[in-house]
């Protein structure tokens, strides 16, 4: 997957780049709208991550231009403006998603994955997890054909951990993903434990769940080859 990040804040751009490279994306950087559009004209990209607050051109205009140059790419708007109007206009102009700054890199990757599934029909097949199978498209987890009922939040938690497999996710990162802006400081991290406990309880009826690890003092991770 090839990603173009158009972001004038260089430090932020480098962090995103480092993260995406680790997640096996090929990432190009542009620090101005002009440079970004130039690169879009030359190279094909799967993803364009676009900051709306660029110094040389209004982000929404960049989006319009970029869509003309590369209509097939998936566009994710990144912005610190956080206007609801921006979000609506952006999505109307054909952006696939919208992430307000500051955002978690894990969240960014999760959104990109969701778009991949939706837009590029990538990995529509079921993903094995221990003795279980997860269908990310249908949001179903099953064991030998038996569907296991998880609550929405439990499923979200599990799939987020699965997406970032072999990486420890802190309780805070998890609760931010689940509750978004409604996550309270510290307050919700305990509930992650409750949810994990429930997931283990529900799944271990069918098969062992030793792949779902507790990392003491940090959080949880899914260990998977």
């Amino acid at each position: 997957m090839k990603v173009l990040l158009i972001e004038d804040e260089k430090t932020l751009a480098y962090e995103v780049e480092a993260f995406l490279k680790k997640a096996f994306y090929i990432c190009d950087l542009a620090h101005t709208a002009a440079r970004g559009l130039e690169m879009l004209g030359v190279n094909p990209y799967d993803f364009v991550l676009l900051d709306l607050g660029l110094p040389d051109l209004d982000g929404l205009k960049v989006l319009k231009e970029a869509k003309k140059l590369n209509p097939d790419a998936a566009y994710i708007i990144l912005t610190a403006r956080g206007n609801i109007e921006d979000r609506i206009i952006g999505l109307d102009l054909g952006a696939d998603d919208y992430l307000p700054k500051p955002f978690s890199l894990l969240e960014l990757q999760s959104r990109m994955q969701a778009i991949s599934r939706r837009k590029f029909k990538v990995s529509t097949q079921e993903i094995p997890l221990g003795e279980f199978m997860i269908d990310l498209q249908k949001r179903i987890i099953s064991h030998q054909g038996t569907e296991i009922e998880l609550t929405r939040k439990e499923y979200d938690l599990l799939s987020y951990l699965l997406l970032h497999k072999n990486r420890v996710l802190t309780r805070m990162q998890l609760s931010e993903h689940i509750w978004g802006t409604f996550a309270d400081d510290d307050y919700d991290s305990n509930y992650i434990d409750v949810h994990i406990k429930n997931i283990r309880k529900k799944l271990s009826v069918f098969a062992p769940v030793e792949w779902l690890e507790t990392v003491r003092g940090v959080g949880y991770k899914i260990r998977k080859q």
């Binding site: 956080g82 700054k101 890199l105 400081d185 003092g217």
Partner: protein, 444 residues
């Protein structure tokens, strides 16, 4: 009382007083005028008699008799001459009774003693009081009518003119003072008037409101800009920490520190988020076009908070009528408002406590929702300040919450013109009462 009413009242009363005074003094005035005129008339008659006497001698009247007397047909006037002793003088006008041919009548009498021939004569010229006063009544009536007519005309003219004069003032009050909502962000045109006082008042108000508006605007702009400027570095830090935590060579010790940093950063992020939300609400950046029912709203909130309720084993009883639908609201903001209130009710509640949400529709169309908890309560002297930013109840045990939750509630309720009342008793509980104006309630 309004200035216009006061002036109207004053003008009417003062004119009434003038009429009253006039009507009361009119009989005296007309009487006096009639008398003065009569006296003048009698003097004239006297002069005529004296003239005749001087020209023809007193004998022309006496015709050999000792005295002379003559009266008109109906005895309205009479004249008499009779001799008096030498040295007797009398020269006056007075009202007295006279008997003329068996008729006793009241006369205004002029007496005058004058020398003629061999002796002095006393002349009396009289006019009946009745004839003097015969025009008084009609005169009084006509005068009263004319006066009343004039007063009525001036009254109407005065009232219309004061109304016209005060119209700009009313307009200033209507457009500049009442019906205006802080922070006066709508522009208002100067009121047209030729009265310099009003123009001055109007201009002062306009410039004052512009100043307030500007100051407020600056503050809002600052909050919005500062928050945005803060978001980017927070984002950078967050991403740096995330990347660092994924490094395989990071030790457990460093990992632990990184989690601490993440937590602090998260706190900072939440504060900035909240400030930005408040500034956006105050900035009118949210549309109020949504329609949402209470059931829907509370159902969604319950989804978000049920895990907190069950942790503290708090019983939540939602006792709301199902047919209430809000209109002209922002759904997300209302959600946030009720969410914050319920979340607070959980946060400051005791274990196995209770939360009750109930409602009532008033006759005047307003709608009322109360949310009561069995929590620690708020001290009386702190109730007035709980909506202030960064004010945290002193007795919060866990140190959680950074005092912006209720500020957000306040901003949202102000934005929708919802009134909030708080009642609280220490260690008994707190009740928030939200009064929704009728305009927000959809008729079903």
């Amino acid at each position: 009382m309004k200035l216009n009413s006061k002036l109207t009242l004053f003008i009417t009363l003062s004119k009434l007083a003038i009429v009253l005074l006039f009507v009361l003094t009119l009989p005296y005035l007309t009487g006096r005028i009639a008398r003065t005129y009569t006296d003048y008339y009698l003097q004239q008659q006297k002069e005529k008699v004296l003239e005749v006497v001087a020209r023809n001698g007193v004998e022309s009247y006496l015709q050999g008799e000792a005295s002379y007397g003559s009266y008109t047909m109906l005895k309205e006037e009479y004249i008499s001459l009779e001799p008096v002793e030498e040295g007797f003088t009398l020269d006056t006008i007075y009202t007295d009774e006279r008997i003329i041919e068996q008729d006793t009548l009241n006369y205004r009498v002029l007496t005058h003693v004058f020398p003629a021939g061999k002796g002095s004569y006393l002349m009396e010229v009289g006019k009946t009081v009745e004839t003097i006063e015969q025009y008084n009544r009609p005169l009084q009536r006509i005068a009263t009518y004319v006066l009343l007519g004039l007063i009525l005309i001036t009254l109407v003219v005065d009232l219309f003119y004061t109304r016209f004069l005060l119209k700009p003032l009313g307009e200033i009050i209507r457009t500049k003072i009442s019906n205006r909502k802080f922070p006066f962000n709508e522009n208002s045109d100067p009121v047209h008037t030729s009265t310099s006082d009003f123009r001055f008042l109007d201009q002062s108000l306009i410039s004052l409101m512009n100043q307030i508006h500007e100051a407020f605007e600056k503050e809002r702009e600052f909050t919005a800009n500062a928050s945005h400027e803060l978001m980017t570095p927070i984002g950078i830090l967050q991403n740096k920490i995330e990347n660092l935590m994924a490094e395989p060579e990071v030790s457990e010790f460093v990992q632990d520190r990184l989690i601490g940093m993440q937590r602090t950063l998260n706190r900072l992020k939440r504060i900035v988020h909240s400030l930005l939300l408040i500034s956006r609400i105050d900035n009118d950046q949210f549309s109020k076009k949504d329609t949402v029912s209470t059931t829907e709203l509370f159902g969604d909130i319950l989804d978000e908070i049920s895990h907190r309720l069950s942790e503290k084993e708090i019983g939540l009883r939602i006792n709301l009528s199902e047919q209430i639908v809000f209109q002209n609201v922002n759904r997300d903001l209302l959600f946030q408002m009720f969410y914050n209130l319920l979340n607070n009710a959980i946060r400051y509640n005791k274990n196995e406590g209770k939360i009750t949400a109930s409602d009532r529709k008033n006759d005047d169309g307003t709608y009322l929702i109360t949310i009561s908890d069995t929590g620690i309560g708020i001290p009386e002297d702190e109730i007035s300040s709980i909506f202030n930013r960064f004010k945290k109840a002193n007795n919060s045990e866990d140190g959680a919450g950074y005092g912006l939750g209720l500020s957000i509630v306040k901003s949202i309720s102000d934005y929708h013109r919802i009134t909030i009342n708080i009642e609280s008793k220490l260690s008994v509980g707190t009740t928030f009462t939200l009064v929704f104006p009728s305009g927000l309630i959809k008729d079903i």
